[in-house]
């Protein structure tokens, strides 16, 4: 879990009281095999990996639990509440996840619509308030809406995670202005969650100044997940460094790079 660039060029990502050394967070869903997942996660350099909470299939002898494949001492497990459509459901899933005993962090999702998987803002704010009061470190998935992001911060979220575009769509960053505005106005870290499709999307997203990116399908659905994971790792760092470096101003006219004096006659 190291960055490619020298550490002096960037500072660690700090969420709540914890320091992370990769700004790329990855999911573990939808891989064609556990082996492909493990290789992609290794190539991504990610420290935080998300997992979902589901019933054990009691009629299968070959268990599909993720902990048979991922070493929880090596990765920081961030459980999600994916598939929850109400605040109450999300709270129940969060409590179950915490009882697994790894940590008190939760990636909160309250989905408002089955077709678009867009979040239910009211449900998110309510669940964040309840869970934060119970001591959870809530990282709240949300729309790219400034007011909802501000309300989530007020409700006690330790990080706010606006989408780049809908979950699993790979459409990239649809509204850079919104993401930039959210980052400028919030005190807590802003992690863009969902919608990134390829390395250039990740780079452009990081160039908006956000603190990190969480992605899953962009890796899992790539023809070569491990190679895409390596590309994403570099893209996240490239975008971050470009943001920190400060880009040159855009001009509508050309300006020569070479001296205009001293030309031979």
């Amino acid at each position: 879990m190291t960055t490619l660039a020298a550490p002096v060029l960037d500072s660690p990502l700090v969420i709540a009281d914890r320091e992370f050394h990769s700004r790329l967070l990855v999911g573990t869903g939808k891989y064609t095999s556990n082996d492909a997942m493990v290789r992609a996660i290794e190539a991504s350099g990610a420290e935080v990996v998300t997992v979902a909470v589901r019933r054990v299939d009691l009629d299968r002898t070959n268990r599909d639990g993720i902990l048979h494949h991922l070493d929880p001492s090596r990765y920081f497990l961030l459980a999600n509440t994916a598939g929850c459509y109400t605040a109450d459901e999300a709270i129940r899933y969060a409590r179950l996840a915490r009882a697994a005993g790894f940590n008190e962090w939760i990636k909160l999702e309250v989905i408002g619509d089955q077709e678009t998987l867009l979040p239910d803002s009211a449900g998110l704010i309510e669940a964040t308030r309840v869970l934060a009061a119970e001591g959870f470190k809530v990282m709240a998935y949300t729309n790219d809406d400034l007011i909802t992001a501000l309300r989530l911060e007020d409700a006690g979220a330790v990080a706010v995670m606006p989408l780049a575009s809908p979950i699993g769509s790979g459409l990239g960053l649809l509204n850079p202005y919104s993401i930039r505005t959210i980052k400028q106005r919030l005190g807590v870290p802003v992690i863009v969650d969902a919608g990134v499709g390829t390395a250039s999307d990740a780079c452009i997203t990081m160039e908006q100044g956000v603190d990190g990116i969480l992605m899953n399908t962009a890796l899992a659905a790539a023809a070569d997940p491990a190679r895409m994971a390596a590309a994403m790792r570099m893209a996240v760092e490239a975008g971050r460094l470009a943001y920190l470096a400060g880009r040159m101003p855009r001009r509508e006219v050309a300006v020569p790079s070479s001296p205009t004096t001293g030309l031979i006659a």
């Binding site: 999911g27 009691l58 048979h68 179950l96």
Partner: protein
């Protein structure tokens, strides 16, 4: 119950054999029969589950203390949810 799985601990128990002397808790949404006196610990062993790899909810209450599994006797109608971490984003 087409999915009923023969218990390795109670091989004679099938859902059809359920009668007096047995209990039928609802485990992950499905009624399943066990001998009366079966504890939660017995149930996990019957399904070959490592208690450290799962989280159990008993009648909507999360059992955070795994030490009580072997003393928690189950009853007909008890709702048991056994969950674990799977791949997700």
């Amino acid at each position: 119950m087409p999915n009923a799985r023969r218990s390795t601990i109670f091989p004679s128990m099938t859902p059809i054999a359920a009668a007096s002397g047995s209990i039928t808790p609802v485990v992950n949404g499905e009624p399943r029969s066990f001998p009366a006196g079966t504890t939660l610990g017995d149930l996990l062993r019957a399904f070959e589950l490592d208690p450290r790899m799962v989280v159990v909810e008993h009648n909507r209450a999360i059992l955070r203390d795994r030490a009580i599994y072997d003393s928690l006797a189950l009853a007909t109608g008890d709702a048991i949810e056994i969950v674990h971490f799977v791949g997700g984003g």
